[in-house]
């Protein structure tokens, strides 16, 4: 796998909102896994030293002028990856819950050409994942709905630990869901006839900061995402960005 990977221009997109405590370690660990990974930290309007810490480590830093939410932040990363001509992109959250040593698991199916998007799931295998009851129920419901819509078994639709190839980058650069994008982007990708593969990964407890989803917002979140999935079924597909000269 290392040889296959070495031939590709690869980038890690690290979305971060007030993660000064953890973002440095995330960058170090990605480099530890593979020094050839370029790293772009998308600072989604942090009020702490997130951008400074990342820049000191020599990562590319995209500082958004105000908070766009994880969807807008990730799309910024995908635009960067698209314009700079990267072949493969991984998302590693800046809060440290994604373990870069697990990257081979999500990279494998994309490198072998079996998947355009590979999602690391907390639930299909090793790694006990603890989370609140409401959150687990929500994730279960999404898993059911999405599995039905994409006609393929998925267990963890809210996971942000993902690897995507050039086709996926071109699609997500052109159109990426707002607010809470993981669930919708999975459906969108399959609707575009790109291939989705889910693999089990171990995740860590969050290293710092607070989850962006509080209990109060979960109902709004679920309603909004379910509505988006439903309406998305009736929507015409977006046009992926065109390659200019390759």
């Amino acid at each position: 796998m290392a040889e296959l990977l070495a031939e590709l221009d690869r980038i890690a997109i690290v979305p971060a909102l007030n993660e000064e405590v953890t973002v440095g370690r995330v960058i170090d660990e990605i480099r530890e896994f593979d020094p050839g990974f370029d790293i772009v930290v998308v600072d989604d309007g942090s009020t702490d030293r997130t951008a400074g810490v990342a820049a000191d480590r020599g990562a590319h830093v995209l500082r958004l002028p105000f908070n766009l939410g994880i969807g807008g932040a990730m799309q910024t990363g995908f635009r960067f990856a698209f314009e700079r001509g990267y072949d493969i992109a991984v998302q590693v959250d800046g809060d440290g819950q994604h373990d870069p040593s697990q990257l081979p698991k999500i990279l494998g199916p994309v490198l072998s050409g079996d998947a355009d998007l590979c999602v690391g799931s907390r639930f299909t295998g090793d790694g006990a994942y603890r989370s609140s009851f409401a959150r687990r129920v929500g994730i279960k419901i999404f898993a059911r709905v999405v599995s039905m819509v994409v006609r393929q078994r998925v267990t963890d639709t809210t996971s942000g630990f993902r690897a995507v190839n050039r086709r996926g980058i071109a699609l997500f650069a052109a159109d990426y869901p707002h607010d809470y994008p993981e669930v919708e982007s999975t459906v969108m990708l399959v609707k575009h006839k790109l291939r989705l593969v889910e693999v089990p990964v171990a995740m860590r407890e969050r290293g710092g900061g607070a989850s962006s989803i509080t209990a109060f917002r979960s109902v709004y979140y679920m309603t909004k995402v379910l509505l988006a999935i439903f309406v998305g079924l009736f929507r015409r597909n977006a046009v992926p960005l065109e390659e200019e000269h390759r």
Binding site: P65, F66, D179, L227, V231, F234, R235
Partner: protein, 115 residues
């Protein structure tokens, strides 16, 4: 009791509202997050227009016995108020963000000219 034609007209109107909102989301002219309140409005109005006994009961709570559909209008007005208030907060946020963008652009231009 609400006159049947009033119930039918109200039900048709709220159903049309739901259809229009759905089409606006589908064609990407309305984002889901701004559509939720409209959908809630449409659903509540639709339910109350169809469920005539329920509307009667609610009207009774407020001492409106002569003409229950008045409550339908009042609830509709209440929802519109909430939507408007929500939009006021949205506009405030947009205008704050616009200020930040203009300031960042000015700083960038200055850097380009003098840098």
């Amino acid at each position: 009791m609400t006159p049947l034609p009033v119930s039918i007209a109200a039900a048709v109107a709220s159903f049309l509202l739901l259809v229009v909102v759905f089409e606006l989301i589908r064609s990407r002219r309305l984002r889901e997050r701004y559509a939720l309140l409209w959908l809630l409005t449409g659903i509540v109005l639709l339910v109350l227009s169809l469920w005539r006994g329920g509307l009667n009961t609610i009207a009774g709570w407020f001492g409106v016995v002569s003409y229950p559909p008045a409550i339908l209008g009042a609830i509709g007005a209440l929802f519109i108020l909430v939507v408007l208030l929500h939009y006021s907060t949205v506009i405030s946020r947009l205008s704050d963000q616009n200020t930040i963008l203009a300031q960042r652009l000015a700083l960038l231009e200055q850097q380009l000219r003098e840098g």
